[in-house]
Symmetry: C2
Subunit: 416 residues, 2 copies
């Protein structure tokens, strides 16, 4: 097993070279990475079968399915890498330019961060995505995947490294941490001078461990307690459509709605229709409700506990609260949201404008589903995760968000 | 004495209101703050006299001078606040806009971070600057100044708060931490949920304490081990002019040059001229040299120790090293720089282009002095400090760098 420290040192060593790759070199490398995944699919599938056999009975069927690779899924990974070729290079863009009165040309130019560390959980396709996004943005990456997917990720990274070598790029541009104990995560969190940005992608425990231990810069991603507020001025048909989409189209993801807030003046009209639509027992996945006392006086359902308004269910469960108006909705969101995505349903421009100016979350929607918070949907082409913090990147992180900038100043013997 | 926690809670409480102030309200508040400083100058000067009396004999004359306020300096603080009125509001700018194929309007809009904490050392004018920059960017600020300047800072903040009250803005928009022990700094570093960004401005000890203890997002500012590299292709007259400016125009600041790197092929021509210009004993402040062995074979001077190449002298001292070319210069900078500012002197475009693409510091200069790394010089109008890290802000931090962004998405019942 390779020591984590030696992996970090190798990453730092090749970083100057990788950071300076041209657009053409990076695109050629992405093609080679995709091609290598396809060529090595037998080895990857074999490794995955060993991971699956080991995990069988230890993790849930849903998690097993996320872990499973097929020829088709490997094809999709390769395709995902190839889509990055067409995206513009985020490095070397002139972000701002000014001329100093003494004739200096001052340009702010985008640059790779350097070495990006990513700690993630069991889906092996994240390995390929993260490697490709890092490479296109000129960053070296150090990947630390979940232990259930270790052999699969290892096989994926080996293939990617073969692809890189075939076009003359050092294999160390993409590396996988081999120690899958907690020790290596902590080593990454404290790898000052080696890791320029650490992205933890996972549950609350991982995020907490990063906040407590990290001495390298981190971006927290992921948890989403997203709210949909149906205002007095809502068009109830639109509200039902948007709520159903936000809650039911894919409840296991972070941009799904977890809490419904309803204006007291329309609660009696809206809640029964909501219940009929979402909770119909004949549906494959009827939604189970957690009701505040006022909502429980209008429709039937389980009573909500306090925790229900601070829980990311990631399931067909919806907490419901009746509020006195947009101010109380905003206040509830301020106290309970994780800062991911919130929506207001209203035809009243004043209420919408108050909501968008007062709600401090990464994405705020008017008459649209929270499910749109996604790099692809926002036109970023792809994403490395969704930041729920305010520094550097907020919301979906695409290629530009994996860059920093630098001032390049050209003079002619110019002094201050 | 007010408890630090109660100050943080008050900051968080008024933050939604302050974050939403209009440009007009903020500019009116800045005028009122400037006016209040002038009106209360007697109280501020009296407080400053008490600080000075207490500090006399305990701190160096240079530090005593930095601590001293005069009527003129208070006037300059007020003037500094007023210059912010004319600068564009960094909040509410549309940074990016796209239309989703389903008709959604997706806009990325700049917003205040929320609550900004600033820990700084003894100069009392930082108090007024930081308060004004925070307010113009819509942020609440919590200031934690040095203990030597406490009474002065307290009087300044009291005046500013009077100004804020006079235009109907809560005093808690600008607050000073009253506990001046180490405890309050650590409380700020761990004020999760209260402080959105912490800016430590000070020496290596403070920065280190932040890296070790902070669980809130931080931006490190300040230390600058800046390099000037005189290439084989340099115009030696320009090189002398730029080096003298970089080293001698204000050696106590972070953008001053600390290390001179010289190409071996021009060392014999350049070093004697450099020494004659910078080290002339008849000058008021002749520079003292710390020479590598190769340089010591050409000119006389003290031998450099290894530490001299990792020291921010902030004084009339210059470490000198002869290198084999631009590659070695870049490599030396990679190992020893703090990532602040570096310059190459050369007429050779190839060398300049290699240097700017390979040196990973906040500002990289060709034929110009490192002394230009400054918010005012870079056209930002002002600055809160100079970031030497890569996340969020790099180089001088102005008003825009005190903001985050948010996606505002407008639909019409739109679902994914």
């Amino acid at each position: 097993m390779k020591e984590t420290q030696s992996i970090l040192e190798a990453a730092k060593r090749v970083s100057p070279l990788v950071n300076r790759l041209s657009t053409e070199e990076k695109n050629r490398a992405l093609e080679a990475m995709a091609e290598a995944l396809l060529q090595n699919k037998e080895e990857i599938l074999a490794a995955n079968r060993r991971d699956l056999a080991e995990a069988e009975g230890k993790i849930s069927p849903v998690m097993l399915d996320r872990l499973r690779l097929t020829e088709e899924r490997i094809g999709a990974m390769a395709e995902g890498i190839r889509t990055l070729v067409a995206l513009p290079d985020p490095v070397g863009r002139v972000l701002r330019e000014s001329t100093h009165e003494k004739g200096l040309c001052i340009r702010r130019i985008s640059r790779p961060l350097g070495v990006v560390g990513i700690i993630y959980e069991s889906r092996p396709n994240v390995t390929a995505d993260a490697a490709a996004l890092s490479l296109k943005s000129g960053n070296v990456c150090v990947l630390r995947g979940g232990k259930e997917a270790f052999l699969s990720s290892y096989a994926i990274v080996e293939s990617i490294q073969k692809g890189l070598s075939s076009v003359g790029i050092p294999r160390e541009a993409v590396q996988l941490i081999e120690d899958i104990t907690r020790k290596s995560s902590v080593e990454m969190m404290r790898a000052e001078g080696y890791i320029d940005l650490l992205i933890p992608r996972g549950g609350a425990g991982l995020i907490r461990a990063c906040v407590e231990n990290a001495t390298v810069p981190c971006i927290q991603t992921g948890t989403g307690i997203c709210h949909v507020y149906v205002d007095e001025g809502a068009d109830l048909d639109k509200a039902l459509t948007v709520l159903e989409n936000a809650k039911c189209s894919r409840p296991s993801v972070c941009n799904a709605c977890e809490v419904l807030l309803v204006h007291e003046r329309i609660a009696e009209a809206f809640l029964p229709r909501m219940k009929a639509l979402l909770c119909d027992e004949r549906k494959e996945n009827p939604v189970s409700l957690r009701l505040c006392p006022a909502a429980a006086r209008i429709i039937e359902g389980e009573k909500a506990s306090d925790e229900d308004f601070d829980t990311e269910f990631l399931d067909y469960i919806l907490a419901v609260k009746v509020v006195s108006g947009v101010e109380e909705a905003v206040e509830h969101i301020r106290c309970h949201s994780t800062g991911h995505s919130e929506a207001i349903l209203t035809e009243d421009e004043k209420a919408a404008s108050y909501f968008t100016s007062a709600v401090d979350s990464a994405a705020v929607y008017v008459n649209a589903s929270t499910r749109f918070t996604d790099g692809g949907e926002f036109g970023l082409g792809c994403e490395m995760g969704i930041s729920t913090q305010k520094l550097h990147a907020r919301g979906p992180m695409g290629l530009e968000e994996l860059c920093t900038y630098q001032y390049i100043v050209i003079g002619n013997g110019t002094v201050r």
